[in-house]
């Protein structure tokens, strides 16, 4: 194990190659806001597939799932379960959202609230809240990237500087290429990530134990408790499992970039077909669980946040540096490509909803595209500064993100199911949900083992219904 830069060079070549490929693919596309932000609403099965699966195949596929499997085992299964449940909901929800977006020519997530509830104030408030959740989530991807680059450099190089360089390159790429470029980059990313996942979940157990089944046999002897969930209200027990799957499944389509991915579809049918097939993609996550369990046997004893590095350490110690390079490259793409979709969504909603609709700045097509591009760079710098400043608390902020975005779901779903829902009800519902979920999550309080986001969601729904029934909030609702 020598400090060779080979692995890092492979990472750099793959990342730059992906960006170059994506840029070549979009070089003849003329950019207007429709094209830049929602790909001209022309995406078919493959682009939708990679954009909607990208949410799950982020850096946390590589680090988080393996880390959770490594330290606790069965609770990691929740990722597979929630993905499938999310697509079961999405089969019905995504085409309905798409129809609204198409008819009203929506560009951003907040546009949906503004149109359905006929309230600019709600649109602006939702835009600001969504934006506040994007920055920590992008920062989180940077932390993942840092771990990957540090391990790929065998600890010999300063990963912080490399992260900054990689991120600036990425921001310039998003500046140029828009959502279509991100979709092309996602195609390459998914090829690499799938390769990495198959290597991790099949090759590693076979190399060390003969087969995945033999590896599980060993786990069953040494750590039998890892193969089942803790009971009831225990930490990461069955109550936590069910509530987390529900929460994440409901929140899945509520990411600002997931909303725009839905808008970018060519048709409602393309979204249905995707929801039908995407659960199969979840099955591959099983392999990352095998990788994490294998690491628990091969490099035991990691504690705290170090568990996220478990499977990479196995690759670093026992495989040649070109293998490490390819795996780290896959992981880096898994961090950078979703981050690029988020940058775009964040810049888009600030340009459109806050600066454009509210303050009346840059409302023409040309100015809007330019402003969105500039804001991509601004958001990128903000996320970078945030990350440099608060590297340690980022994992807690992931909770804020997931607890946060899910609070938008009642407003979206109510707009289809309940004609009396009003802007006041939805807005105050979101406020109630956040003020229950965020403090509890920050203080790490989990009453009865229930995921606190779900409690926030309950408060949200109660307030939404209660306030909507009050007489003063009625007139704001536009007839559908």
């Amino acid at each position: 194990m020598t400090a060779t830069p080979l692995a890092l060079i492979i990472v750099a070549v793959v990342v730059l190659g992906t960006i170059g490929f994506a840029l070549l693919s979009v070089r003849r596309i003329k950019m207007d806001p429709q094209q830049y932000m929602v790909g001209g609403r022309s995406f078919g099965t493959i682009f939708l597939w990679v954009l909607l699966a990208g949410e799950i195949y982020t850096t946390f596929t590589f680090l988080g799932i393996a880390g959770l499997s490594y330290s606790q085992g069965a609770p990691a299964y929740y990722v597979m379960a929630y993905g499938v449940c999310a697509y079961l909901i999405g089969y019905f929800l995504a085409p309905a959202i798409w129809r609204v977006a198409k008819d009203a020519n929506l560009l951003t997530g907040p546009d949906f609230f503004e149109t359905r509830y006929n309230s600019r104030a709600l649109g602006v408030a939702v835009a600001l809240l969504w934006f506040a959740m994007i920055v920590p989530y992008v920062a989180l991807q940077l932390s993942g990237l840092q771990i990957l680059l540090r391990i790929a450099g065998y600890g010999a190089y300063d990963a912080t500087a490399s992260v900054c360089v990689a991120f600036v390159v990425l921001a310039l790429f998003v500046f140029t290429a828009g959502l279509r470029g991100t979709a092309w980059a996602s195609v390459v990313k998914d090829v690499f990530v799938l390769g990495g996942v198959i290597f991790a979940g099949v090759a590693i157990p076979m190399h060390f134990f003969g087969s995945p089944a033999a590896m599980i046999q060993r786990i069953g002897i040494i750590h039998p408790q890892m193969l089942v969930l803790p009971l009831g209200t225990a930490y990461h027990g069955t109550v936590w499992f069910v509530s987390s799957v529900l929460l994440s499944a409901i929140g899945f389509y509520m990411g600002p970039h997931t909303m725009t991915a839905v808008y970018s579809s060519r048709s409602a049918q393309a979204l249905r077909r995707n929801a039908m097939l995407l659960p199969l993609y979840q099955v591959f996550l099983c392999l990352m669980i095998f990788a994490g369990l294998s690491a628990a046997l091969i490099v035991p004893g990691l504690k705290g946040t170090a568990v996220d590095q478990s499977f990479l350490l196995v690759v670093q110690r026992y495989y040649p540096s070109w293998v490490l390079g390819l795996i780290a490259a896959a992981g880096s793409l898994a961090a950078l490509v979703p981050a690029s979709a988020l940058l775009l969504a964040g810049a888009g909603l600030i340009t459109k909803n806050v600066l454009g609709d509210w303050l009346g700045i840059a409302t023409g097509d040309k100015e809007r595209t330019l402003l969105t591009r500039v804001l991509v760079l601004v958001v990128a710098v903000l996320a970078l500064l945030f990350w440099l400043d608060a590297q340690r608390t980022v994992v807690e902020l992931l909770l804020l993100y997931y607890n946060g975005i899910t609070q938008f779901a009642p407003g979206v779903i109510a707009s289809f199911l309940w004609k009396r829902a009003t802007a006041w009800g939805v807005g105050l519902g979101i406020a109630a949900g956040l003020s229950v979920a965020v403090p509890l999550a920050a203080l790490n309080i989990t009453p009865l083992g229930i995921n606190v986001g779900l409690l926030g969601l309950a408060a949200n729904i109660v307030v939404l219904i209660g306030v909507s029934l009050l007489p003063f909030s009625r007139p704001l609702r536009k007839s559908p």
Binding site: M80, V84, L88, F92, L229, V242, L246, A275
Partner: protein, 59 residues
């Protein structure tokens, strides 16, 4: 009817999980709970496909 069909795999992966939270019997060496989740991930497309057939029938 369509929602009911979607509710089957959904329930299997959420509320049913506490009742299948067991290691044995293992199928092909994989713990039962993991088999259950993988099986429903594979079955979910079949349910959604059935729903899409019903929709086409209605239309």
């Amino acid at each position: 009817m369509r929602l009911l069909l979607a509710a089957v795999p959904f329930t299997a992966l959420t509320f049913a999980v506490p009742f299948v939270n067991r290691d044995q019997p293992r199928i092909a060496g994989i713990p039962f709970l993991l088999c259950w989740i993988v099986a429903w991930a594979l079955l979910a497309p079949a349910f959604l496909w059935a729903i899409s057939r019903l929709e086409r029938h209605d239309a």
